[in-house]
Point group: C2
Chain length 255, copies 2
DNA sequence: GAAATAGTGTCTATCAGACATTATGGC
DNA sequence: GCCATAATGTCTGATAGACACTATTTC
């Protein structure tokens, strides 16, 4: 049997709005946003890493991130968008898919002290990616199993593992893979994305039936030609805001 | 085409660990944890609310929460557990199910300034609940649709809606409903939990088949007797740490 | 025509929903 | 025996997987 104890901590007393730069009376963690940016490149699921240029973990690979700026960020979401914008520059109106993953915070993960980070995962369409990465500080790295082959700073390896698991899990019953493709794409291309991320071949007929029943794509009139073979029909995603849920997970039995 | 810009914000320079009480050099948000505590009581899905005793939103209902304590909390998770422990007192080793939902943070949600809160949702077994709630400051409130019928402080109505949606969604393809029941329970009881939360009747035969195939329960030897009718077999959940995923969502078609 | 890839048709095993039937307790 | 509820059995429609087959392009 339990007893309710109602001594809820009641935050700060007083009512005045603090100017954004005022340091609050309560000690609070160092707060950042980190991004797990996914793309499918070269038939691989890859993520974008940056090399740290200062201690701690200097010269170690890490997830790209940014410090929450109380002056300019209206919300954690907008901090995430700003961080993403500082990482990639779009020439037109393309916005990658962005979804909050989880918040990690502890005394230990940063040697400088108590730190918290809200992590978002980002899906980037393949045609928006820079073709070469001869930059010194940013790099696309292939995902192998639940992580990457390089050592990561802080607790970022665990974060990557969580993000990969979430991506695979969501692929099982939603449409999010379309965000990894350009606006117009073919069904074999979409199927290939699923196969690469789920790491298993899928039956063509079943896959097309599944997509057709979800009624999430609309046919274009043009055609795409491939290097060889019959050209494939182009499709476009119907509504990027609607959520498609498949009633059954894809190939859950095949595992 | 995009260009990578690699000017990643590189956090604080310097390497020394700050004592926990030191105010960091960067302004940071007021950081709290909030809980959405679910239980099924009186054939209803209910959540636990507290009445605020100070401004802002004095005397308004709100989600129970606590301020992150850098001295005593090792992580956000442990802050959540501490907050829960300050709310309910267990006489033995029962620990409710606790899962991080999402982090909400913005300049607007708290009139005192930039605030962030990591929200957890909690599932409590029905036999651990206090039977009466004649406390002045805590109250169980029935969930109606996506929320509750009382007005909530801050942005808590949106948080409750998200939590309810997550709970319903997880019920569709996982076993988490068992955390709302005592250690030993009958299949009709489990089915009733699903029906109450999903707000739709389920077929008895289909439900039992589904549970049996998931192989998540083990039969006890004793029996439970009800007020009337044939006594029902008691079961116990096999492994609280293993995740059960149903290959199909429950009754997705019936909707 | 051969090769390659896109797209369709068909069969079957499986499973969910519906509903009937049997089982087991209290009164 | 009657009532109430638990538990099981059976039928059917829907669908995913498997795989064969057709279609359309390049060479």
């Amino acid at each position: 049997m339990l007893i309710l104890i109602m001594s809820i901590p009641t935050a700060r007393s007083g009512n005045s709005r603090l100017p954004p730069t005022t340091i609050p009376r309560y000690p609070c963690p160092f707060f950042t946003v980190n991004l797990v940016v996914f793309a499918v490149r070269d038939e691989q699921l890859q993520i974008l890493l940056v090399k740290r240029d200062a201690a701690p973990y200097q010269a170690r690979w890490a997830l790209p991130g940014g410090v929450l700026d109380l002056q300019h960020d209206d919300s954690i979401d907008s901090c995430a968008h700003r961080t993403l914008a500082s990482l990639i520059e779009t020439v037109d109106t393309y916005t990658p898919y962005l979804e909050q993953l989880k918040t990690y915070g502890s005394r230990d993960c940063d040697p400088r002290g108590w730190a918290a980070t809200t992590v978002y995962f980002v899906l980037m369409a393949i045609d928006w990616l820079p073709l070469d990465d001869n930059e010194q500080r940013g790099h696309w790295v292939a995902v192998r199993g639940q992580g990457v082959n390089v050592e990561l700073a802080f607790g970022h390896a665990k974060i990557v593992a969580d993000a990969v698991e979430r991506l695979r899990s969501k692929l099982e019953y939603t449409h999010i893979a379309v965000h990894l493709l350009p606006e117009e794409f073919t069904l074999p291309e979409l199927q290939r994305i699923y196969e690469i991320i789920l790491q298993q071949p899928l039956d063509k007929s079943s896959f097309r039936r599944r997509v057709a029943q979800a009624d999430m794509l609309e046919e274009m009139s043009g055609k795409l030609r491939d290097g060889s073979g019959r050209p494939a029909q182009l499709y476009r995603f119907r509504d990027y805001h609607r959520r498609t849920f498949f009633p059954r997970s894809i190939s859950r039995y095949a595992r």
